[in-house]
């Protein structure tokens, strides 16, 4: 019975489930090229990764030097972070040229969508002037880091829903103390339904980005992504 008001933009949403970081990274690269060519729409990707450490362009070696594994060095802004089971990761392949090329507003929108969705499960979260990300009191629940290539954005945000927080202790996330990280589960005391949260997040981003996100399946666009990314997708 509820009908969405007419959105300003049309987009796609790809819900991938659990996928390895590197593979999702290839898809992002493929989609960025396709988006530049105008062959795909603005695409929101929701995914969960097996445990992995990634380092952004602002990476300081002292924040991840104690690692026993090799982190991924990637294009996004920010320092080191951890992805793993129970964490919902959202990637944004958006053409910012069509959205006023306002990077600050874009980052702000990414965080607002998360804040709105957390509110629905009873968590009052906020942005922080100094430290990008989504915060609950003095703790950080979601990290944000984005790259922009030819004004096409990629990378995005990672929301800790049921994340095992002890995994952050292997690094200094975003150059901060590992204890600063929290999760929705830790805050509300029970497991969060990730699929339901993802659905609500899409709804929030529909409002925030004035974009109606149509679900697409990976196999529908896999060939094109693959041809741009130069590797096997499926």
């Amino acid at each position: 019975m509820v009908i969405e008001e007419k959105a300003k933009y049309l987009g796609w949403v790809l819900q991938l489930g659990r996928v390895e970081f590197e593979r999702a990274l290839q898809w992002q690269h493929g989609l960025v090229k396709l988006r530049k060519e105008g062959l795909v729409r603005d695409t929101l990707i929701l995914v969960e990764h097996p445990p992995v450490i990634t380092v952004g362009k602002d990476g300081h070696p002292e924040n991840f030097e104690a690692l026993d594994c090799e982190p991924y060095f990637i294009e996004r802004g920010g320092d080191v972070t951890y992805h793993g089971p129970g964490q919902l990761v959202a990637y944004f392949i958006f053409n910012l040229s069509r959205r006023g090329r306002d990077i600050h507003a874009f980052m702000s929108n990414i965080q607002d969508g998360i804040i709105r969705t957390l509110e629905q499960i009873g968590i009052k979260a906020r942005k922080d002037e100094e430290h990008t990300g989504v915060w609950v009191d003095k703790k950080k629940i979601a990290s944000v880091g984005v790259a922009v290539r030819n004004w096409i954005s990629f990378h995005g945000a990672a929301v800790n829903l049921n994340t095992d927080l002890s995994d952050f202790k292997r690094i200094s996330p975003c150059g901060l103390d590992a204890d600063v990280m929290t999760s929705a589960k830790a805050l509300v005391g029970h497991q969060i339904d990730m699929a339901e949260f993802g659905r609500q997040l899409i709804e929030a981003y529909t409002d925030v980005f004035e974009t109606a996100f149509y679900p697409v399946r990976l196999d529908e666009i896999a060939e094109d992504i693959e041809s741009q990314a130069g590797g096997n997708v499926i």
């Binding site: 019975m1 509820v2 009908i3 969405e4 008001e5 049309l10 796609w12 396709l34 530049k36 060519e37 105008g38 062959l39 795909v40 729409r41 952004g56 362009k57 602002d58 294009e75 996004r76 802004g77 920010g78 006023g100 090329r101 306002d102 990077i103 600050h104 507003a105 874009f106 980052m107 629905q120 990008t132 944000v144 880091g145 984005v146 790259a147 922009v148 290539r149 030819n150 339901e196 409002d207 149509y214 697409v216 060939e223 094109d224 693959e226 041809s227 741009q228 130069g230 590797g231 096997n232 997708v233 499926i234």
Partner: protein, 451 residues
């Protein structure tokens, strides 16, 4: 001619960026859109592309340096126009991309698995061409490639579409537009055609309006007797409009609180009670309370008398293939929201599977019809005789709404109340509808009326 590379505008509140890394050194050639330099601002890494082809002749900022928006950070010389220092740059670094030897087609990257699907056709395809093949449902094997190195061009696909429609007997060859394309297809033909500018403006898809022969008389129309439930509905509608002077009053109902509440409970509700919770139980409850306050609306009439009903049986219209039916929730005022929800589920199911008993559809005192289920924003329902009013509820739509002088987004549904003006005066109907609004806008008020 030399072109300055500036730190781009990146939004009103972004005033500067930090140079992270130069991707091109001074004296090196750059291609169009090649990344020159990476800037960082606010956890965003922005790659600045070259806007022309040429040679990077200057860099004015070092890595790690903070540069304000609008600062000139580099110069690219395209080697054309007035002579500049670019002459000094190595001549070998041609601005063109290194050309492939024309005779020997480059060996494609080994991509074993994907080959089967992506390159099943006779030639290689760009993503754009592949997208067209999907949108027009063209068999790739029917496309004859004419592009360089055996590539399939956009024109090749269009030709295949045309040939297919000719084979199917559409002699004028109108090419149907692709079914609701999800992706905008750039309308310009590919680069091979570049020298013919007037050709470039031709639409990609030329639509001609087909002319069809009229159908033979026997097939033009189908007739069936007016009988059964359709006949009953037809008679009832005509009788109702003839009997009651209909007036419809409308009010936008603020559902914001209810939408929130329902979102919160809907999952656990199914788990607990095995039934979906819709807005209808709340609407029925609100209507019953309002009916008690305005007894004329829960009434019927003959030519001689008015019959006030002291029971509240609410008919809820259910759409079916065979036609509308209005099962009745008996004594709705005495039932809880949970009981109403469960009964609505079961009665709706029985209506759709034709298992309603005569008792299920008789004895109603007031009716509610939900056209919003199918997206209607507003409608004027016809009274279900011998009742004297019917409430039409509609889609809940997010709308700008003024609250305390500020515009906010609220979930709004337009309600239309059709009433029999013989019995019900306008001010009664308007107040009745407004009372329903009050209960639905603030569902806590329903608590006050709990027994």
């Amino acid at each position: 001619m030399a072109l300055d590379v500036l730190v781009p505008q990146m939004g009103e509140s972004v005033l500067e960026g930090t140079i992270l890394e130069w991707k091109v050194k001074v004296g090196e050639p750059v291609k169009l859109n090649q990344v020159l330099v990476e800037l960082m601002t606010d956890k965003v890494n922005v790659e600045i592309p070259a806007e022309i082809e040429g040679i990077l002749t200057h860099q004015f900022a070092k890595e790690g340096e903070v540069v304000p928006v609008g600062t000139r950070i580099a110069v690219i010389d395209d080697g054309k126009g007035p002579a500049t220092k670019a002459e000094a740059a190595p001549k070998k670094a041609a601005p063109e991309a290194p050309a492939q030897p024309a005779a020997a087609p480059p060996t494609p990257k080994p991509r074993a698995e994907i080959k089967a699907t992506a390159e099943m056709g006779k030639g290689k395809m760009s993503p754009k061409v592949r997208m067209m093949i999907r949108e027009y449902s063209v068999d790739p094997l029917t496309v004859t490639p004419t592009g360089k190195e055996g590539r399939v061009t956009v024109d090749d696909v269009m030709r295949a579409v045309e040939e297919r429609s000719q084979a199917a007997g559409f002699t004028p060859g109108p090419i149907p537009a692709p079914p609701a394309p999800m992706v905008a297809v750039p309308s310009a033909p590919p680069a091979e055609k570049a020298p013919a500018p007037e050709k470039a403006r031709e639409p990609l898809v030329k639509v001609e309006i087909p002319v069809f022969e009229p159908l033979p008389a026997a097939q033009r129309e189908t007739r069936t007797p007016l009988a059964g439930i359709r006949k009953m509905i037809s008679d009832h509608m005509v009788k109702s409009v003839h009997t009651s002077p209909h007036v419809t009053t409308f009010e936008d109902i603020d559902f914001t609180e209810l939408v929130k509440y329902r979102e919160e409970i809907k999952n656990s509700f199914v788990t607990n009670y095995g039934a979906k919770i819709t807005y209808m139980p709340f609407i029925i409850k609100a209507a019953c309370l309002a009916l008690k306050e305005f007894p004329k609306i829960n009434a019927s009439m003959t030519e001689k008398e008015i019959i006030f009903k002291n029971y509240y049986n609410i008919g809820v219209a259910v759409a079916r293939e065979e036609g509308l039916i209005v099962p009745v929730i008996k004594n709705a005022d005495k039932k809880t929201i949970v009981e109403l929800a469960v009964e609505l589920n079961s009665i709706g199911e029985r209506a759709r599977t034709n298992q309603l008993m005569p008792d299920d559809v008789s004895g109603g005192t007031f009716s509610i019809t939900n056209a919003g289920m199918f997206g209607a924003a507003s409608s004027t329902p016809i009274i279900n005789q011998p009742q004297v009013a019917i409430l039409g509820v509609h889609a809940i739509i997010k709308k700008p709404w003024v609250v305390k002088g500020e515009i906010v987004i609220r979930d709004i549904s337009n309600f239309g109340l059709s009433f029999d003006h013989r019995l019900i005066d306008g001010h009664i109907a308007v107040q009745f509808l407004h009372r329903i609004h009050e209960y639905l806008a603030d569902p806590r008020l329903l608590l006050m009326q709990l027994r």
